[in-house]
Symmetry: C2
Subunit: 234 residues, 2 copies
């Protein structure tokens, strides 16, 4: 973790610990520079990161203010850190239905920017929140980037393994959402009825160097589909 | 528009005009500094803005690369600029159903951080794409911030009026999404059937100074609910 990231997470903890509310003012720049005994540019980078995460907003000539999401039990749509962090009070689990090495379909190859003769890991899971189904997940990992997966890893957090186990850095993602009706098969995995609402979320995850490594398609149980975004205004 | 925003939009136009593809490299920092005849810090701010918008990614020690969304006709979920820009090839229109000054309900007052005796503008519209319904929209504007609206303004773009007409700056937003089934009334506005899927999107929009001015609830026609997000990895 770089210095500015360290400082950002200390400020985040401070906001959390003091239960600061939306609109409450943080110390001015000069105070933060002194407090963290660091350079102005490092503090500015830390604040920019917090702003990007939707945790503060900065008003020119006026100060730095706290942002808070106001509803509980919503999932952060923009976080790469999985469900764990947002739903930490709930018991989350995964049931692994399939795990195998395959050749990609044309769509998978295109989304991962690979050739059709390259190998991918195919992982199919149902994810549960408490005793309810949360989503059906089908993921394709570029085997040239993620050379090994086993049942234990995919039962736990794959991203944690990729970052901690393989030492890779997850960068950014493209996400595509659609609303529709459940097919027979999807409904049976989610313990719902054919034709009921679904949210389909396709994501392509990239390493920081721009290599696509994961193409995932998640089909959500509409009863559990509550998401939030702290948008930064672009 | 500030200098770095000007430069960012020139780079954006350049990418568009040259139809640059995902992964294509932009000139190095030094070249951009010379080309735009500006300071290093201004170029860095311009690049950070483009990264935040999901248009480029920067790889330390390697360069600046283009990001492209790969699917057409999806709506940018994170843009405050309305549907116009994403769906510019389509004919979009609004039908105004109601426009009046009201006292807020408790939920509206809470979301706008105002008292229950303050006035709000209530706007109810159905939005169309080509001849199809796109969404039912109910919006509440804090009248202390947006003192005047009329039918002509709300038939066109309210945000354009707020920025250009009132000279206010739209900052950030909180968004909450849920999937569910259409009620009878919603279905009739959207020309769909009771019980069919819906996406409900609630947004609270803030000025750059942190004042909430708009609380909106949009109910989408699931046939038109295609969204994308260029996530920046947080």
């Amino acid at each position: 973790m770089l210095k500015y990231q360290q400082i950002a997470s200390e400020i985040e903890l401070y906001i959390e610990k003091h239960q600061m509310q939306q609109g409450e003012k943080l110390p001015v720049l000069e105070t933060l520079i002194k407090e963290f005994n660091t350079s102005k540019s490092t503090i500015i980078k830390a604040l920019d990161l917090l702003e990007k995460k939707g945790l503060i907003f900065q008003v020119r000539g006026s100060g730095i203010f706290v942002r808070r999401k106001k509803r509980k039990n919503y999932i952060n749509l923009l976080s790469n850190q999985g469900f764990q962090k947002d739903l930490e009070k709930f018991h989350l689990s995964s049931e692994v239905l399939e795990l195998e090495i395959r050749k990609p379909t044309e769509a998978v190859a295109q989304n991962l920017h690979i050739d059709m003769d390259q190998d991918v890991y195919y992982v199919k899971r149902v994810r549960y929140i408490e005793e309810e189904t949360l989503c059906l997940e089908e993921s394709y990992y570029n085997k040239a980037v993620v050379p090994y997966l086993n049942k234990e890893i995919v039962t736990d957090s794959i991203f944690k393994y990729i970052e901690d186990g393989l030492g890779l850095k997850v960068g950014f993602s493209d996400m595509y959402m659609q609303i529709g009706k459940l097919t027979d098969q999807e409904a049976s995995y989610l313990k719902l009825k054919n034709g009921e609402p679904k949210l389909t979320m396709e994501s392509i995850f990239y390493l920081t160097n721009g290599t696509a490594f994961d193409y995932s398609k998640l089909t959500y149980n509409y009863n559990q589909s509550q998401f939030y975004i702290l948008g930064t205004g672009i």
